[in-house]
């Protein structure tokens, strides 16, 4: 029997698919470099005209350009695969940044961060759960908002969604609220930091503790200063490392509420949820501490990390879809916003208190 040939779409070969992200990565680089160019031009203009212009870091320009492009002309399909790599550049940048931390400093600063993170987690989860109930949000959406605002934004929400069997709609609500609030933090936190005269160390810790998504937390620190970015990465990485514990806690609570047994092995569950790039960060930091890299090599690794972050920050702007955020509805956003304001205020108090005790 003869069969009619049905034309099949041609599948791209592996090398072709390997090159698929290149246009998007080039766009990230172009936007990041344009941001850097604008920063330098403004500084030069101020210098030549003897004007005292505020130094607006390239980070903010790159994000703004990305937001404008994505929400006006839009991003053609050819660029999308490359733009999606921004998370890869973020994690690569964080691992490379490990070269600028010595293990001894990490233990000292990390322990301060850890104490602050544990307090922040307890406060944020309790408050957001209560607030969700007060506004009549369903239990799963409240849980997702609580996890998103307490641990690490989008990845924590996705991990918890699977663990508590929440709807995709609830997860997208929570993700949109967290991303919108992260975008607002990018612009407001540095203004508050400067108004309060916060040190780079204190501001970095505050960004890492209070800004939810890793890319936005690192960007907020970077807008303030290079040192603030370092401390933002430290505090945010400590928060990220807690994701497994928090998701496990929610999964156990969900199983108990459904009178079900929690089947997975708990240690294995924790390991699955643990962000492995944190281990890479610690490894590079250990290598730097044992003087595997000389001064010039450490500087080179630090600059490679900066280039990786430049691509990340352009991606943060490009994937900010203002229309999609507006469509998500007001109630989850109001709950998220109120929660974030309270958490930001509490963590600011914590950091300022700790800075007095630990003198930073």
């Amino acid at each position: 029997m003869a069969t009619a040939a049905i034309p099949q779409p041609r599948l791209a070969s592996f090398p072709e698919r390997l090159f698929e992200p290149l246009p998007g990565i080039a766009l990230l680089a172009a936007i990041g470099l344009l941001g850097k160019f604008i920063e330098q031009r403004i500084a030069l203009y101020g210098k030549t005209h003897h004007l005292h212009l505020p130094n607006i870091e390239y980070v903010l320009w790159a994000i703004l350009i990305g937001v404008v492009v994505a929400n006006t002309v839009g991003v053609p399909k050819v660029f999308r695969a490359g733009i999606a790599t921004y998370d890869f550049w973020l994690k690569t940048g964080i691992v490379l940044l490990g070269a600028r931390f010595l293990v001894g400093d990490l233990a000292l600063m990390g322990s301060v961060s850890l104490v602050l993170v544990v307090i922040e987690l307890a406060l944020a989860i309790t408050f957001m759960t209560w607030l969700g109930r007060l506004f009549g949000l369903n239990r799963n959406l409240s849980a997702l908002l609580a996890v998103g605002s307490s641990v690490c934004g989008v990845s924590a929400i996705i991990a918890t969604q699977g663990a508590i069997d929440a709807d995709d709609e609830d997860a997208s609500f929570a993700i949109a609220a967290i991303l919108a609030l992260g975008a607002i933090a990018l612009f407001t936190f540095p203004l508050i930091g400067h108004a309060l005269g916060m040190s780079d160390h204190a501001f970095g810790l505050w960004s890492g503790l209070a800004v939810d998504n890793t890319a936005e937390a690192v960007a907020t620190g970077a807008i303030y200063s290079d040192i603030a970015q370092k401390f933002a990465v430290l505090a945010k990485t400590t928060r990220n490392a807690m994701i497994g514990f928090v998701v496990l806690g929610f999964a156990l609570r969900w199983a108990a509420s459904k009178a079900r047994e929690f089947k997975p092995n708990k240690a294995q569950f924790l390991w699955t949820k643990f962000p492995k790039f944190v281990l890479g960060f610690l490894l590079i930091s250990a290598l730097a501490s044992f003087h595997v890299f000389d001064k010039a090599q450490t500087a080179a690794l630090g600059n490679l990390s900066r280039w990786a972050f430049l691509l990340t920050f352009a991606g943060v702007g490009l994937r900010t879809d203002i229309r999609a955020m507006a469509k998500q509805g007001l109630r989850p956003f109001v709950v998220g916003a109120l929660g974030e304001i309270v958490i930001a205020t509490l963590t600011l108090g914590l950091v300022l208190g700790a800075s007095r005790v630990a003198h930073f």
């Binding site: 698919r17 698929e20 790599t85 691992v95 790039f277 890479g280 010039a296 080179a300 690794l301 900066r306």
Partner: protein, 37 residues
Amino acid sequence: MTQLRKRFSLSLDALAVWTALALAVIVRLGVIKKVPW
């Protein structure tokens, strides 16, 4: 990037860590001596 990860069964975290380690080795071996910023 997704294709590369699937091809070698790597998670995004693992790909980021291996990339950073490869760059660290390249810098350590002196292949890249200076990275301008």
